[in-house]
């Protein structure tokens, strides 16, 4: 690929002679739409530059351009694009192959699918060695084990012989990094290396990258998670709509963001400090006006829930193990825990969508889980659900209006006419920040945030007392997440809705919950008020979770 | 004579393999189906054979004597003939074969050909066998020239399994069955000890070639193509569209089968054809001659006599001229018969009933694709005079299962029956009675006068008288329009020019390879 120079007159930054990589006025367009609009940056050996920004701001495109793999149909222009002495703008495909892997290591965004599932991990990790003619077969095999060991993969010989699907997400991510650093490239680009990971694993990966940096590797870290960035990066570039809106030393940018967008981004990260406030639009300090919680008889009461699943290997696993909890009217109970700890299963049992091997769920003191389907059906409208993945919870054929109309008929006062139904649908949509224009939109054409709001509107439609929210924000960008979280709190304040709120994001849980359950391997390991759990954790596991959690403030304070 | 042929170029060579592409693969090599006669002729010898003038000539029997009452035939057998299993072909063996066909289910077509005249067969001494009939039956000798009457080794028949007798019949013929690669070919090996060639043979002695590969190639295009590319030396049933080309490039033979031609039985007991006028109108109403000429590209002759074909002895050529295409007459006959109404589709009606003809035909086996086109042409012409003819191609399975037999199954349906003798008329037209049913009379036409005439012909000892009677019978059949004549049944062969003395049996058109030789 030959990259042409950008049009003259584009902004240029000061030259930095010792830069390993220098990018000036980089522009990338796909079929006429420019998605990277003249950005410039540089990086020196042993330093880490973080590129942050919302989804679609052009981070990945920029990264791919640096290895000449922008994608088909892309047109790339730059005033300067140099790796050491090499002008990357005039590199042919053959020379690119020499650069990739050996000069630049690249960790792709989707760790879980970035290893060839059908090949052995060892082959994948050793591929750059082979491609660049490093050593012979035997020495390569040794080197692979070494590399896996270096990135903290336990039992590296065994792992090298396994296939990616036999490895957990964290291990896969580490193997991927091992492959990227196999030839010890001077520049490492890591695109969202931690998004798919649990906090504890995330912390390990960040340590790994830090070690690499220590050895003199220049790292470009791409993330939309500011707290991750805070732990590793020396500099931060904030991207928005294909432009770098702010660029500076990490501590400076995080502590005293100059651009309004950066400020909003930082404010939108939920945490202990945002508790009891709204997240969006500089309203950080506006406190919520809570309704009182009725601590009398619990609204929902789960006693000794137990669920056993037979796995694909035929072995029974106790997925929910003697879980009890209660939810009082008007409060928010959070459930946290790592992936697979049984949160969703617990919620589905609570909703009586799934039978349990043991235990009982009662609603307002009355039987619930023990009712027959037929008897439960009329009561269902008192409990709403918002699913982790709203898209799959919508019939793809139904437009928003029909989805909501259907939910309205389940409420205590079903609309008596089409006109009334439409009125109420529009009101619901407005309540969640959407409008009449969305009535006829199909779910496929909504954005992630919009879908989540429709899901909430659907849950609200039958006027439930309790809404079970299963990871309602995990798929969302921080800024959209902030809007949705605000919506939840507003609804609680206005209507007194009760929440059972599930998330693996500790910040979200801390931000929202009154009381918290911590789950691990199907058991509740700790329970208490949000502040008790997060500030004075008793259980060893909870403590481990909390130390692993990267915190924005910590980083800014530590470096400032 | 061989001098002619050397003049044609090429010196004869001994040995070699003739590759012959046939169409259908029979279930067994010996049996009552013409497909079986074709191949069993290579392996088995008959008592007598027919020459090109329809005269009976010696074969295994060197001479024969007919008793004055016409009921006893005494055959003198060639001396010293041995079956290929080494056992002698003597009078006992011949008598056993007659018994096998007649009484042991050995060959139902052989049986039906001489039923019910046959009484018994017995050996007088080693070389003399005596056949006794219940009535005098003039066609008897001619009938036993058919391939169904090949003599097999009684020892083999008695001692071997049904499977072995099916796959490798033991006779005294010019070839033996070496191997049957089912689905592909039968390998026939020369019988080096052959002594019993017929009087009509083109040379004396064992077969000149060493082997015949009798291949089964059902697809006509492939079959003919295999000859043009030199892969085969002789092919059966050349597609008529290729006939002209074949005539110029190869030695071709068009054999018109004697016996009942391809003609439709007309159901005279049920449906519209119970009325003779309608039957006649049906015959007049379509230009069968032109249709046949077009459909078969002028190769296969039209046959106007539905009773027997022009290749049959005592053929009535005048009867063949009846019912020349005459749509006006057909219309008049139909009007006369009361079919005066017309429905919305233009078909004639009578009392609200449509002039409907159900016309199933055995597709493939009897009516090939060319024949089907002829029927479609006729269908269009019948439509013009108001017949609604529904053509139904019947599959082999349906035909064999008898789906289209019986008076309720059809109004007209074509079939053929090869026979070297006009006595076939008796087989087909003998009245079917409760006591003595005749499943072959598929027009269900019981005409005592006709029966009397045929029977008289069969039993007449005077050939001239017999001939006259047979012709009279054909006229009766034609007059009553109980069969719709279409075209002759044929066998066509094309042989490479370097293959000489390949000939066909007159009786049924079986190919004969025992005399054939290659030239260089």
């Amino acid at each position: 690929m030959t990259i042409l120079a950008s049009k003259p007159g584009a902004a240029a930054t000061a030259e930095r002679e010792d830069d390993l990589l220098a990018v000036e006025n980089l522009r990338v367009a796909f079929g006429g739409t420019e998605v990277v609009k003249g950005i410039s940056f540089g990086i020196r050996p042993g330093r880490c530059l973080a590129i942050v920004g919302e989804s679609g701001s052009g981070k990945s495109v920029t990264a791919r351009t640096l290895v000449g793999l922008t994608g088909s149909g892309a047109s790339v222009r730059a005033d300067r694009l140099e790796l050491g002495p090499t002008d990357l703008r005039h590199v042919g495909e053959r020379s690119w192959r020499g650069i990739r892997g050996s000069e630049i290591g690249f960790v792709l965004q989707d760790a879980l699918v970035s290893l060839d599932q059908l090949r052995r991990v060892g082959d994948e990790v050793g591929e750059p060695l082979k491609l660049h003619g490093w050593g012979d077969r035997g020495s390569r095999a040794e080197r692979v084990v070494e590399l896996l060991d270096a990135v903290g993969v336990p039992e590296p010989e065994l792992r090298a012989r396994q296939r990616p699907y036999e490895l957990s997400g964290g291990l896969r991510q580490r193997a991927l990094i091992a492959s990227a650093i196999a030839l010890d490239p001077p520049l490492l680009i890591a695109d969202e290396p931690t998004t798919a990971l649990d906090v504890t694993v995330q912390a390990q990966v960040l340590d790994l990258l830090a070690a690499s940096k220590e050895r003199g590797t220049a790292i470009i870290l791409i993330s939309h998670d500011l707290s991750v960035v805070a732990r590793l990066a020396d500099e931060v570039a904030v991207m928005r709509h294909g432009e770098i809106v702010e660029h500076g030393p990490t501590a400076e940018v995080l502590r005293a963001p100059r651009h309004e967008y950066t400020r909003a981004l930082i404010a939108a990260v939920p945490s202990e400090h945002t508790r009891g406030t709204r997240l969006v639009a500089g309203s950080t300090s506006v406190p919520r006006t809570r309704r009182p919680i009725d601590r009398g008889r619990p609204l929902l009461e789960a006693r000794h829930l137990t669920k056993v699943f037979r796995g694909p290997d035929g072995v029974d696993r106790t997925v929910v193990d003697d879980v009890s909890f209660e939810v009082f009217a008007g409060e928010t109970v959070g459930i946290v825990g790592e992936s697979g700890s049984g949160k969703t299963t617990t919620a589905r049992i609570a909703l009586a969508l799934l039978g349990a091997e043991g235990g009982e769920v009662r609603l307002r003191g009355n039987p619930w889980s023990t009712l027959s389907d037929r008897d439960r059906r009329p009561l269902r409208s008192r409990v709403g659900v918002v699913y982790q993945d709203p898209l799959s919870s919508f019939d793809p054929r139904w437009p928003v209006g029909r989805i909501l109309a259907d939910a309205l008929t389940r409420g205590p006062t079903p609309p008596s006419s089409k006109e009334e139904s439409l009125d109420r649908i529009v009101r619901l949509l407005e309540q969640v920040g959407l409008g009449r224009q969305h009535v006829e939109t199909g779910p496929l054409r909504l954005s992630g945030g919009q879908r989540q709001r429709v899901a909430i509107a659907r849950a609200l439609a039958p006027e439930p007392e309790l809404i079970v929210c299963d990871e309602p924000v995990s798929a969302l960008d921080v800024s959209v997440q902030a809007q949705v979280l605000d919506l939840f709190t507003d609804l609680q304040d206005e209507l007194g809705v009760t929440y059972l709120f599930i998330s693996h994001d500790l910040g979200v849980i801390h931000h929202l919950s009154d009381r918290v359950l911590v789950m691990k391997d199907g058991r509740v390991v700790e329970r208490g008020t949000a502040d008790d759990i997060f500030l004075r954790p008793q259980d060893e596991y909870t403590q481990r979770l909390l130390t692993a959690l990267p915190r924005l403030e910590q980083a800014t304070r530590g470096q400032g | 004579g061989s001098s002619d042929e050397s003049a044609n170029g090429g010196t004869p060579v001994k040995g070699g393999t003739i590759v012959y592409a046939h169409e259908q693969e029979p279930p067994c090599i010996f049996g009552g189906w013409i497909q079986q006669a074709y191949i069993s002729r290579q392996v088995l010898d008959g008592l007598v054979t027919l020459d090109d003038n329809d005269q009976v000539q010696p074969w295994l029997a060197t001479a024969w004597k007919v008793s004055p009452d016409g009921k006893t035939y005494t055959f003198t057998l060639k001396d010293g003939v041995k079956f290929t299993d080494g056992t002698p072909l003597d009078a006992e063996a011949v008598a056993y074969n007659f018994d096998y066909w007649e009484n042991k289910g050995g060959n139902s077509t052989a049986k039906v050909s001489i039923d019910p005249y046959f009484k018994s067969a017995k050996a007088i001494d080693a070389t003399h066998v005596e056949i006794t009939l219940t009535h005098p039956y003039t066609p008897f000798l001619t009938l036993i020239t058919q391939g169904y009457f090949g003599i097999q080794s009684p020892t083999a028949l008695k001692n071997r399994s049904a499977k072995e007798n099916c796959e490798q019949p033991i006779g005294s013929g010019g070839f033996t069955v070496a191997e049957w690669k089912h689905g592909q070919e039968v390998i026939l090996k020369k019988n080096p000890n052959y002594t019993s060639w017929p009087a009509t043979a083109k040379h004396q002695g064992p077969a000149i070639v060493d082997e015949v590969q009798w291949k089964f190639v059902p697809d006509g295009v492939s079959r003919y193509a295999s000859l043009t590319t030199g892969q085969t030396d002789v092919v059966y049933d050349v597609p008529t569209v290729n006939w002209k080309e074949a005539e110029s490039k190869f030695d071709t033979t068009l054999y018109i089968t004697p016996g009942k031609p391809v003609s439709a039985y007309i159901n005279t007991v049920k449906g519209v054809f119970t009325d003779k006028l309608v039957r006649q109108a049906f015959s007049y109403g379509a230009d069968r001659k032109s249709a046949v000429e077009a459909g078969f590209h002028g190769v296969i002759p039209y046959e106007g006599n539905g009773a027997v074909s022009q290749a049959t002895p005592d053929y009535n050529a005048d009867a063949a001229k009846d019912y020349a295409y005459d749509p006006d007459k057909a219309n008049a006959l139909l009007d006369q018969a009361g079919w005066t109404g017309r429905d919305s589709d233009g078909y004639r009606t009578k009392n609200g009933k449509q002039l409907f003809v159900k016309f199933p035909y055995p597709a493939g086996a009897v009516i090939n694709t060319e024949g089907a086109v002829v029927l479609q042409v006729l269908q269009e012409q019948w439509k013009k005079i108001g017949f609604n003819v529904k053509l139904i191609p019947a599959t082999q399975a349906e035909v064999f299962a008898g789906k289209y037999s019986g008076p309720d199954a059809y109004d007209a349906s074509p079939f053929y029956w090869t026979s070297p003798s006009p006595s076939i008329l008796w087989i087909v037209w003998r009245p079917s009675t409760e006591a003595n049913p005749n499943g072959n009379n598929q027009s269900f036409y019981n005409n005592d006068e006709l029966a009397r005439v045929i029977d008289e012909a069969n039993t007449s000892t005077d050939p001239a008288k017999a001939s006259e009677l047979y012709q009279q019978a054909q006229q009766i059949i034609s007059d009553n329009a109980v069969t719709l004549p279409l075209y002759t049944q044929n066998s066509t062969y094309a042989a490479a020019k370097d293959l000489k003395d390949f000939w066909l049996e007159k009786s049924q058109g079986e190919p004969v390879f025992a005399d054939a030789y290659f030239t260089k």
């Binding site: 793999l69 630049i104 699918v113 290893l115 991927l176 | 067994c28 399975a397 037999s405």
Partner: protein, 339 residues
């Protein structure tokens, strides 16, 4: 259609592997049992289906022996009925048949008087050779064309996918006739009637392989295109792998999976096609026997052929499962069959 794959990690330790083996033994037995059941059911269905054919079996046999179409008297039919046991109740005939199956006896052909095992045995090999070669050739054709043309610019890939679309729509018999005329008659490169030698097998194999190759190619191309967009392919490129390397080492293996699954099904289609190819090229084979046997109502032979074809099908699908597992160790056998 896409399948939901369970890609959850499951690390197997030695102890668990042993457990697994112990669990799989009855599973294997179950598989064999159900295969046997399928075979017997297939043969039985055929057996009964043929009893539904209008007309009397003895009549058919007699007509067949004489090349005629007529009714026969009870006296004429009686010996045939007795010989083949048609006078027994249908259920008894069936039990007798199924009983025979377990002893490897498929009955005796009504028309050829030979054991059906022999009737089929003679013909099975040429048919298998034909269908399997066709499958192999189809695969080679499909892979070559896909590898060479997929995502190689608008024109080349367009050419490749058009070729596949056209060939996939070709009726096999038509291909057969056209190939025959072109390459055996017009340019006599290959024999018209081939028999079973290698040279004579070329055209029949191509007749079956060309349409199938188009079909397999289409499926493979779709998958190939999807795979080339996968992150792991991009990852391989970021390591410095060439385009050819990516295609051969990464994409190929993934993209053959659906075509492997379809190969089991394709074998059935090939057997159908073989009937036609055998007809055109005068090849021996099960197809010819089948058509004849159906036409002559040779019940034991037809049932026998169905049994054999079903067995081939069952075995083929087991092999497909196996191949699938070889290529993609992620999937349990039970998932290999679905698409």
């Amino acid at each position: 259609m896409s399948i939901a794959l369970d890609t959850r990690p499951s690390v197997r330790s030695g102890a668990r592997a042993a457990q697994e083996a112990a669990r799989k033994a009855p599973a294997l037995l179950g598989k064999v049992l159900s295969a046997v059941l399928v075979l017997i059911a297939a043969a039985s269905v055929t057996f009964f289906a043929q009893l539904l054919i209008p007309g009397d079996r003895a009549t058919t046999i007699l007509n067949l022996q004489t090349g005629r179409s007529q009714k026969w008297s009870a006296a004429e039919l009686a010996p045939v009925n007795e010989k083949f046991g048609f006078d027994h109740p249908v259920l008894v005939q069936w039990l007798h048949y199924v009983g025979g199956l377990f002893q490897g006896d498929l009955g005796t052909s009504f028309t050829q008087y030979r054991p059906v095992t022999q009737v089929i045995g003679d013909q099975l090999l040429p048919s298998l050779v034909l269908t399997l070669s066709a499958l192999v050739v189809a695969w080679l054709l499909a892979l070559t064309i896909t590898l060479l043309t997929v995502k190689r610019g608008r024109f080349v890939s367009g050419l490749g996918s058009s070729w596949e679309a056209v060939t996939a729509s070709l009726p096999p018999y038509w291909v057969g006739v056209v190939l025959l005329v072109l390459f055996a008659v017009k340019w006599p490169i290959f024999p018209v009637i081939g028999g079973t030698d290698l040279w004579g097998t070329v055209l029949p194999v191509l007749t079956l392989a060309i349409p199938l190759a188009g079909f397999l190619g289409q499926v493979t191309r779709d998958e190939f295109e999807k795979v080339l967009d996968q992150p792991f392919v991009t990852t391989a490129r970021t390591r410095g792998m060439s385009d050819t390397g990516v295609r051969l080492r990464h994409a190929l293996r993934h993209s053959v999976l659906p075509a492997i699954t379809l190969s089991g099904w394709a074998l059935g289609a090939l057997i159908s096609g073989a009937v036609i190819a055998e007809n055109i090229y005068g090849r021996p084979g099960i197809g010819q026997v089948l058509v004849t046997a159906v036409n002559t109502r040779d019940v034991p032979t037809v049932s026998g052929i169905v049994l054999v074809v079903a067995a081939v099908y069952v075995v083929a699908n087991l092999l497909v499962d196996l191949a699938f597992r070889l290529v993609d160790p992620r999937l349990a056998v039970s998932k290999g069959g679905q698409r």
